[in-house]
C-alpha cells in the first residue's frame, strides 16, 4: 500500500463500453507523482477514453479512478483536480489570449491583481509575453497550443491530461514542442498524462509508457524497457522492431534461453516466455560485414540520409531488415551482393506470439 501514497492517479479494473463496442476492457495502473506518463496506442485502443474518464468527461461502467487516493466516482470535471489540453486546443474564440488563460482563476474567484500577475507569469513560461491581447484565431497552431497549455497549467492541477496535443502541428514544430513540453513539465513538476499514437513522441518525452491495444494494457514500463524489451509481439511491432522471426527453443534456464534461428544457435539473456515465441531484433542491431553468421543476399537497398536500409534474404528464405550507419566506416552494399549477417544475442528479445499470423 506504500505505492498508493506515491501515486497521483491510480486506476483499478476500469471498463467502459459504448453501445456494443468495448472501449476500455479492464485497465489497472498507477501513475507516480510528478511523472510524465504516456498512453501509447493506435486509434481505438482506449487511450483517449481512459484519459477522458480521468478528466471526468466520461464515466466508467465499472472500476474506479483514484486521484491522490480519493475515489472519483461520478465527480464532474469542474470538481476534479485535473486539467485537459485538447487536441483541437478548444481555446475560447471570443476571448483574448489573456482572458483564456485567466479563465480558470476567474472561476475560482481569485483576486484581480493576482490573476494579472499569474497570467503574465504563464505568458512568460510559454514564451509568448507580448501576445496576450490577441484573439486565438490570430495565433499560429504552435502558439495556440502553448496558450492551451498555459490555460490548463495556471490552475495548478494535480494532473495535466494531454490528448494528442501536437497532432495538428507539422513535423518540425512537433519535435520542437516535444522538447518544450518536457521542459515545462520539469519546471512545474506536475504529473502529465499524455496520449499519443506516435511511438517516437512517446520515447522522447515519457518517464513511463503504457502501451495499449484493444482496451487493455499491453506493456507498461520506462521508454528503454518498452523499446529494448518488448513484452509481446504487438509491442515489438508497434515500436517498429522491424524483424520478428520464427525460432525453435533449444535449451533454457532461469536467466537465459538458447534458440535456433535459421540453423544457428542464439542465446538470449532472458527466461523462456510461455507459449509460442518469436525472436525480435531491431534493424540497427544487425551487422552485415561479419566473418561469421548467416549468409544472405541484398535484395533491396534504400538511402535514408543518416543510414542505409537493406533488405537481406537469408539462404533459407527468411527476409530481414538491416540498417547501417551511412558514414565512411560502413561498406556500401549493392543489390545482389552476398553479405554475412550477424547480431548479438544480448540485443535480441524473445516475445510470446506465433509468427504464422504475420
Amino acid at each position: 500500500m506504500a505505492m498508493e501514497t506515491m501515486s497521483d492517479v491510480s486506476i483499478r479494473n476500469l471498463v467502459k463500453t459504448f453501445g456494443n463496442a468495448v472501449a476500455v476492457d479492464g485497465i489497472s495502473l498507477e501513475v507516480p507523482r510528478g511523472a510524465f506518463v504516456t498512453f501509447l496506442g493506435s486509434s481505438g485502443c482506449g487511450k483517449t477514453t481512459t484519459l477522458r474518464m480521468i478528466g471526468g468527461f466520461e464515466h466508467p461502467d465499472s472500476g474506479e479512478i483514484y486521484i491522490q487516493g480519493k475515489p472519483m466516482g461520478r465527480t464532474p470535471p469542474h470538481a476534479r483536480d485535473t486539467s485537459m489540453v485538447f487536441q483541437s486546443y478548444a481555446l475560447f474564440p471570443h476571448m483574448s489570449v489573456r482572458e483564456n488563460i485567466a479563465f480558470g482563476l476567474q472561476e475560482r474567484k481569485v483576486g484581480k491583481s493576482e490573476i494579472k500577475e499569474r497570467v503574465q507569469a504563464m505568458l512568460d513560461l510559454i514564451e509568448l509575453p507580448h501576445l496576450g491581447d490577441r484573439k486565438p484565431k490570430q495565433l499560429s497552431g504552435g502558439q495556440q497550443q502553448r496558450v492551451a497549455l498555459a490555460r490548463s497549467l495556471i490552475i495548478e492541477p494535480t494532473v495535466l491530461l494531454l490528448d494528442e496535443p501536437l497532432g495538428a502541428l507539422d513535423l518540425k514544430l512537433r519535435k520542437q514542442m516535444q522538447i518544450e513540453l518536457k521542459r515545462i513539465q520539469r519546471q512545474v513538476g506536475i504529473t502529465f498524462i499524455y496520449v499519443t499514437h506516435d511511438q517516437e513522441e512517446a520515447l522522447t518525452m515519457s518517464d513511463r509508457i503504457v502501451v495499449m491495444a484493444a482496451g487493455r494494457v499491453e506493456q507498461e514500463g520506462s521508454a528503454e524497457d518498452i523499446f529494448d524489451r518488448p513484452a509481446s509481439r504487438f509491442v515489438a511491432e508497434f515500436m517498429g522492431a522491424g524483424n520478428v522471426l520464427p525460432v525453435q527453443v533449444e535449451s533454457h534456464d532461469a536467466t537465459s534461453t538458447s534458440v535456433n534461428f535459421a540453423g544457428r544457435a542464439v542465446t538470449v539473456p532472458q527466461p523462456l516466455p510461455d507459449g509460442e515465441i518469436a525472436l525480435v531484433i531491431r534493424p540497427e542491431k544487425l551487422r552485415l560485414d561479419s566473418t561469421d553468421g548467416w549468409q544472405g543476399k541484398v535484395v533491396e537497398s534504400v538511402f535514408k540520409g543518416s543510414m542505409m536500409s537493406y533488405r537481406v534474404e537469408l539462404t533459407d528464405g527468411t527476409s530481414m531488415l538491416a540498417e547501417v550507419a551511412h558514414d565512411d566506416t560502413a561498406h556500401r552494399h549493392a543489390i545482389g551482393d552476398t553479405v554475412m549477417l550477424n547480431f548479438r544475442g544480448n540485443d535480441a528479445t524473445l516475445v510470446p506470439g506465433s509468427i504464422g499470423a504475420g
Partner: protein, 272 residues
C-alpha cells in the same frame, strides 16, 4: 462585361426591369403621396410634411404605433428566449422523439394564419385569457417561435462542444459554462432571431385580427380599419415611416455583418 449586348439580352434586361417596377411602383407611390399636398396618388408638384405633422397629432395612430412596438419588443424577447432553450435542447440531447418535437416546433409556420387565428381565439376563450395585451403577445410568440428557433439552431450547428468541456474542466459549473462560453458564442444567432421576430410581429395582421380586443389594437389593424372607410393621407405617412424604420434596421444588420467580415479578413492577413 464589355461585350456587346444582343437583342435577347436587352429583352431580358427590360423584362427584369418591368418586374421591379411591378413590385416596387406601388410602394414608391405611397412614399410620394405621403409628401404630396393633395394627398392623392398623382404626380406631386409640391412638397409638404403636412401629413406627418397631422400624424403626430393623431392619437389613435400614435397609440397603435406604441402598442405595436411594445408587442414586438416583448414578443421578440420571449420568442428569442424560448427559441434559445428549444435550440439548446434539440442540439444537445439525443432524446427519443427528438425529431417529432422539432416538427411540432415548426407547425405554427405551416398552419394557415386563418386557422391559427380561429383556434387561438377559441383556446383563449376556453382558458379565460383576456383578449388584449396577453392574447396578442402570446400569439406573436407562437407565430415567431419557429423562425427564432431555426435561426438560433444554425448557431448551434457546428458548435464545438469541447469548448464547454474545456470550461468545465477549468472549474466552471454547468451554469457558468453556459453563461461564459455557450451564450456569448450563440449570441449572434439569438440577436438575429430576435430581430426577425420583431419584424414579423410588427406587421403581423391576420392572426392578430382574431385575438385582439379590449381596446388594444396594433398598427396594422388600425391602418386596415381606417382605409376601409376612407383613404387618409396620414396612412401614407405612417407607411413611409415604418418602411424607413425597417430598411434602417436591415441596413444596420447588414453593416454589422460587413464590418465583421472585413475585420476577420484583416486578421487573417495579419497572421498569414
Amino acid at each position: 462585361m464589355g461585350a456587346k449586348l444582343s437583342g435577347r439580352d436587352w429583352f431580358y434586361r427590360g423584362y427584369a426591369l418591368l418586374i421591379y417596377v411591378f413590385l416596387f411602383a406601388p410602394i414608391l407611390v405611397v412614399v410620394m403621396t405621403s409628401f404630396n399636398p393633395t394627398g392623392r396618388a398623382t404626380i406631386p408638384t409640391e412638397f409638404t410634411l403636412e401629413w406627418y405633422s397631422e400624424l403626430l397629432d393623431d392619437t389613435q395612430l400614435m397609440t397603435a404605433l406604441r402598442t405595436s412596438l411594445i408587442v414586438a419588443v416583448v414578443s421578440a424577447s420571449v420568442s428569442a428566449l424560448l427559441g434559445l432553450s428549444a435550440a439548446y435542447g434539440l442540439s444537445r440531447y439525443r432524446l427519443p422523439g427528438r425529431g417529432a418535437a422539432q416538427g411540432v416546433f415548426y407547425l405554427p409556420m405551416l398552419v394557415p394564419a386563418v386557422v391559427s387565428g380561429v383556434s387561438m381565439l377559441m383556446w383563449f376563450r376556453n382558458i379565460n385569457i383576456e383578449l388584449g395585451w396577453p392574447s396578442i403577445i402570446l400569439t406573436h410568440v407562437v407565430v415567431t417561435l419557429p423562425f427564432t428557433m431555426t435561426i438560433i439552431l444554425t448557431s448551434f450547428a457546428g458548435f464545438d462542444t469541447r469548448l464547454e468541456e474545456a470550461a468545465m474542466d477549468l472549474g466552471a459549473t454547468p451554469w457558468r459554462t453556459f453563461r461564459m462560453i455557450t451564450l456569448p458564442l450563440v449570441m449572434p444567432g439569438v440577436l438575429g432571431g430576435a430581430l426577425m421576430a420583431f419584424t414579423l410581429s410588427f406587421d403581423e395582421f391576420v392572426v392578430t385580427l382574431f385575438v385582439s380586443g379590449g381596446g388594444v389594437q396594433t398598427l396594422p389593424i388600425v391602418v386596415y380599419n381606417r382605409i376601409r372607410y376612407m383613404l387618409s393621407p396620414e396612412i401614407n405617412a405612417i407607411a413611409t415611416l415604418v418602411m424607413g424604420f425597417s430598411i434602417g434596421l436591415l441596413a444596420i444588420a447588414q453593416g454589422i455583418i460587413i464590418i465583421r467580415r472585413r475585420r476577420e479578413r484583416s486578421r487573417q492577413l495579419e497572421t498569414a
